[in-house]
């Protein structure tokens, strides 16, 4: 992608007026066709007569998107992604904040690592989720208070659960005091075993080791119990099972402070994709045997069954899923050009999350305002950010064409990596403008 498309958070504040867009402002509870003026980076009452007027007809203007779960790979994995390239990918996808997971090399488990990993200089705010335990080893809680003071928005040993129950409890006791959430990757390593895709008919047919739903559900239930006892805010990330979501709903009804997210790929893709299908969860799978065993479909937790994907999508629609988070996981090509079971797990998501959500909206599985909230205001609230399109607020917004199509190709991606099974597919949703903190960070 052209470097000229991107701005930086350190650029001068912008002034412009978007005319005639569908402005969706979940915080204000409004969804209407109107103009929106930005003056010196702030949302203004009246347009600056000399500022640029942007034709917003047919476009949607929404609060800037917020991703609770991204792997930025810096330090240690710069051949796959850097803070700068992830920020550009985020801006291209309409995000104005991303939360970087700490499973870097070395892990971000100290106040200095949080300070070094956070960035407000590139094309997107990069905030850091601190490691919950020292070295993500799962044995000793890390300096959670120190990291919180240095700006860690949450804590996680993502890539794995905190498998040791006493350690998980000690972490959550401290987080109850700090008021920051534990972002938990719920996976029982023993039950997951050597599973490389979701257990079920497709795995059986393909001869690939199965990962049972129970591997997620067991840890979800354990964490909900600890959250109830400790009062710690718990955020379950990348839920991939209907049973896991049901456990969250049940705990919520008991008063447990729990939030959760689902990735775009667990909503839109299914285990049939491993067998070569490239039809969304709400469509009938197709058979493309030449695309079977594509390492780009290897992800953890694995792509869900169709029943689970549809249940999770219903959860987004009814609000029981708080947020859509990408689990953007870039990998160099050679880590994916191997037999399926040996492929590094994960796929990129920052630049396709909005598009997959819009595909669900087109199929009438989701309404647009709910999608916008699940990608912007609701995740932002979980890390204590606000998103508002009210007069006087800092302009933090995305303007996109929900109907325009684009083809997912390496050259159309700002990420350093292109590991996604969506390559070659045409998706709805083209971002025209991203504005973070009053600065234009992406414009097409």
């Amino acid at each position: 992608m052209s470097p000229e498309s991107f701005g930086r958070l350190t650029d001068p504040p912008a002034s412009f007026t978007v005319v005639g867009a569908r402005v969706i402002d979940p915080a204000g509870g409004t969804d209407e066709i109107r103009d929106l003026a930005v003056l010196d980076g702030l949302i203004a009452r009246a347009p600056d007569p000399v500022a640029e007027r942007i034709d917003g007809r047919g476009l949607v203007l929404a609060p800037g998107l917020c991703d609770l779960h991204a792997h930025v790979r810096e330090p240690g994995g710069e051949t796959a992604e850097t803070v700068a390239s992830a920020a550009r990918a985020a801006a291209h996808g309409g995000f104005t904040t991303i939360c970087a997971m700490p499973n870097t090399e070395p892990a971000m488990d100290s106040a200095s690592a949080i300070a070094n990993g956070s960035s407000a200089e590139g094309a997107c705010r990069v905030r850091v989720i601190g490691a919950a335990t020292i070295g993500r080893a799962g044995t000793e809680p890390a300096d959670l208070a120190g990291m919180a003071a240095a700006g860690a928005v949450a804590f996680s040993d993502d890539g794995a659960s905190i498998s040791d129950v006493p350690t998980a409890r000690r972490v959550m006791e401290r987080l109850a005091h700090l008021g920051r959430p534990l972002v938990e990757h719920a996976e029982d390593a023993e039950l997951a075993g050597d599973g490389v895709m979701r257990e079920g008919r497709v795995a059986l047919r393909l001869g690939l080791a199965g990962w049972p739903a129970e591997a997620e559900v067991r840890v979800v239930e354990r964490d909900l119990a600890i959250a109830q006892e400790t009062g710690a805010p718990l955020h379950l990330t990348h839920l991939s099972t209907a049973a896991g979501l049901a456990a969250v709903q049940s705990a919520r009804s008991r008063g447990v402070a729990v939030t959760c997210d689902v990735t775009p790929h667990h909503l839109a893709m299914t285990d049939a994709w491993v067998a070569g299908s490239r039809r969304f969860a709400w469509e009938e799978p197709n058979g493309l045997p030449e695309r079977a065993y594509d390492g780009s479909c290897r992800v953890n937790p694995p792509l869900a069954t169709r029943e689970d994907a549809l249940a999770l999508l219903a959860g987004v629609a009814d609000g029981s899923v708080d947020a859509i988070a990408t689990d953007h996981a870039p990998h160099p090509a050679e880590r994916k050009l191997v037999p399926f079971g040996e492929a590094a797990p994960g796929l990129i998501g920052l630049e396709t999350a909005l598009s997959l959500g819009l595909a669900a909206v087109e199929s009438e599985k989701l309404d647009l305002a709910t999608l916008v909230a699940a990608l912007s205001t609701r995740p932002a609230a979980i890390i204590g950010e606000t998103r508002s399109l009210q007069i006087g607020a800092a302009a933090d917004l995305v303007l996109f064409d929900p109907d325009a199509r684009w083809r997912v190709e390496p050259g159309a991606l700002a990420s350093t990596s292109s590991n996604t099974p969506l390559l070659g597919m045409e998706l709805p949703g083209v971002v025209r403008l991203t504005v973070a903190g009053g600065r234009v960070t992406y414009r097409s």
Binding site: Y293, L337, V338, F340, G341
Partner: protein, 307 residues
């Protein structure tokens, strides 16, 4: 020169799986194999594949499959290259894709690949310009084995339409079983899989087949029984009830009189079946091995577009 068998052009450049092959396509391979058996005996078609270089890349041990692919390629005049894994760059840590791309650049046109990971042949087909014949990938597929099993059964029984075939053993870990299920169902057979619960787990959801959990139920009405090899090399722990599932002459009385016995080999005599049964009059095991070369001649000729 081409061999005129069947009608219409063969359109597939690869044989990755039996799944997805139509009944007509399977029968065309079997018919061509019959023709190839005669041709081989009469030393005909000896230059059919003279332009081809067949690379044999076996990342797992094999006798029957590797030897019969090599003889099949040579019988049709192809040059063969044996990638001996232990003595190649593979032992220096070269990735599968890099190794296969190297083979392609050196002039190999058709790859016969055996690999321990399910989907390895699909990866080879997607990342190289080679024609790929899957000679066994992980626990997923072993299409040429299923095709030679089908030929063996067709010649013994006349047809597969309506026959009852039972696959007994570690079905979960068996690529032979999976390919046979696809092949036999496509040819109209009734398929039952049977074994201790851990060896057939999940197969109750496989469309179109039955699962039996006792030997009496398994063998009831069977026209042919395929015993699978206990895959001790894949780390499978032999379940204690295995002895209850060992096939012998006495237990075969539970099947149809005259029911046939197959085994993909190599057999663990005394484990999944007795030597007496394996070497007895009902055994088709020798015929299976004999059919290996002609079936693989047919496969190599078809993917090369020469038949």
């Amino acid at each position: 020169m081409t061999v005129a068998v069947g009608i219409g052009a063969w359109s597939r450049r690869h044989l990755l799986d039996v799944e997805g092959l139509s009944r007509d396509e399977i029968e065309r391979i079997l018919d061509l194999a019959v023709e190839m058996r005669v041709a081989r005996a009469e030393r005909r078609h000896r230059s059919l594949l003279e332009a081809e270089v067949v690379g044999l890349a076996f990342y797992e041990a094999s006798t029957r499959t590797r030897v019969s692919f090599e003889l099949a390629a040579k019988a049709l005049g192809a040059t063969t290259v044996d990638l001996s894994v232990a003595g190649s760059s593979v032992s220096k840590g070269e990735s599968l894709v890099d190794t296969l791309r190297t083979l392609e650049r050196t002039g190999v046109t058709t790859l016969v690949l055996r690999h321990g990971s399910s989907g390895a042949a699909h990866l080879a087909a997607r990342t190289t310009g080679l024609r790929v014949v899957n000679a066994g990938d992980g626990i997923h597929a072993h299409p040429s084995q299923a095709l030679l099993d089908a030929l063996t059964l067709r010649e013994a029984l006349g047809t597969l339409e309506g026959i009852r075939l039972v696959i007994v053993g570690d079905v979960v870990q068996s690529r032979v079983a999976r390919s046979n299920i696809h092949c036999l169902l496509a040819l109209g057979a009734r398929v039952r899989v049977a074994g201790p619960p851990a060896w057939v787990a999940g197969f109750e959801e496989w469309p179109g087949i039955e699962v039996a959990t006792t030997l009496v139920e398994a063998l009831d009405g069977a026209d042919a029984v395929m015993a699978l090899r206990a895959q001790t090399e894949r780390g499978t722990v032999l379940p204690p009830e295995l002895a209850e599932w060992r096939l012998d002459t006495e237990r075969m009385r539970l099947a149809d009189p005259g029911a046939l016995v197959l085994h993909p080999g190599p057999t663990n005599e005394g484990v999944e079946l007795t030597a007496e049964l394996a070497n007895g009059p009902r055994s088709l095991i020798g015929r299976q091995v004999e059919n290996g070369v002609p079936v693989r001649m047919a496969v190599l000729a078809l993917v090369a577009g020469a038949a």
